[in-house]
Symmetry: C2
Subunit: 200 residues, 2 copies
């Protein structure tokens, strides 16, 4: 079945085609594509151009590094993420470099960067499955993440499993259509809770 979004208003195909698979093909992502994917993150917007995002990245052919990242995921995510071609941890610098003060939007700006890399990935046929289910303390230990930085998310990157390939229980998790609340429930106008752009 199709995992295409069913938008109420037209959106770019790289937005409607994006979703978060559990079953991935074992095929590795060429290094040039990974460079372009993280290059996209590089050009995201950030408060004071701080660029608070940092990524720890390992592909499965670097077994030891890959296992290090895998060990930082919650158990439930480890079961499927051990099959993906590339894993990353999304980390932030928690203070501003220009004045040392707390960066209230560091995590938000990591989100901007990760969505931007996801867009570039989608344009290259690469799917990204982001996870909040990680163990930040374990990541700090395994990678000696210094004070002032912290791991926030994990990202699995790769190609979709071929039809019929991959573990059936993973393929089964990828069934079901994508659902979202309508715009009237999150785009407000003059008043909180009241639709902002008129009736759709």
């Amino acid at each position: 079945m199709s995992k295409e979004a069913t938008p109420d208003h037209p959106v770019h195909r790289y937005i409607s085609a994006r979703w978060s698979p559990y079953a991935f093909s074992p095929r590795l992502i060429p290094r040039e594509d990974l460079f372009s994917i993280f290059e996209a993150a590089r050009w995201a917007a950030s408060s004071f151009n701080e660029q608070p995002w940092r990524y720890l990245v390992a592909s499965r052919d670097r077994t030891e590094d890959f296992e290090k990242i895998l060990s930082c995921l919650l158990e439930g995510n480890q079961t499927w993420a051990r099959e993906v071609p590339t894993l990353a941890l999304g980390c932030i610098k928690t203070s501003f470099t220009h004045n040392g003060r707390f960066n209230r939007v560091a995590q938000h700006d990591l989100g901007l960067a990760s969505a931007t890399l996801t867009f570039e990935a989608t344009s290259r046929g690469v799917y990204v499955h982001q996870m909040a289910g990680i163990r930040p303390g374990k990541a700090r230990e395994v990678f000696s993440i210094p004070d002032g930085f912290e791991a926030v998310t994990a990202l699995a990157l790769g190609y979709r499993a071929d039809a019929g390939a991959g573990a059936p229980e993973l393929r089964a998790r990828d069934e079901g259509s994508r659902t979202r609340r309508p715009q009237s429930e999150f785009v407000f106008g003059a008043e909180w809770g009241k639709p902002g752009l008129g009736s759709t």
Copy 2:
């Protein structure tokens, strides 16, 4: 001068073309485009599909609503943002709906949504200038934002000012090239601080 990014690796043109102007054309954004722009946010990824993002949106032709959003920005942002065609506040729901627990990545997921809408905007010739410089308490008061939700960012949306049009001091702020730290400083591999994808 060109504000195109100067990437070290090729990225999609909607990524290299994105930047955050201060000077905007007064031209309003057609409602159909605004619908598609916020539709893009709708289809972003989020932890547990919580979709914690909420947007308060007003265009300049709705003077009273527009002024309400404007009043929630820090002074320095009000000076230029009063000229933009559409303003929005990016807000979050701070807890999960399915279990009431704190959503550690709500702000991150607002970032995913805002980057996704920015991509759709760019594809339609619309620029987005995001701001962390807002007054969350003022926003709560002006819009009666309920407990459990909070304003995190503001977004200005519109078209670029025509050459020679707009206030010269705003146009001047848009000069200068875009700079970013190299990938070697934010994409790490087996060790924190050591480049992850090899030499560029």
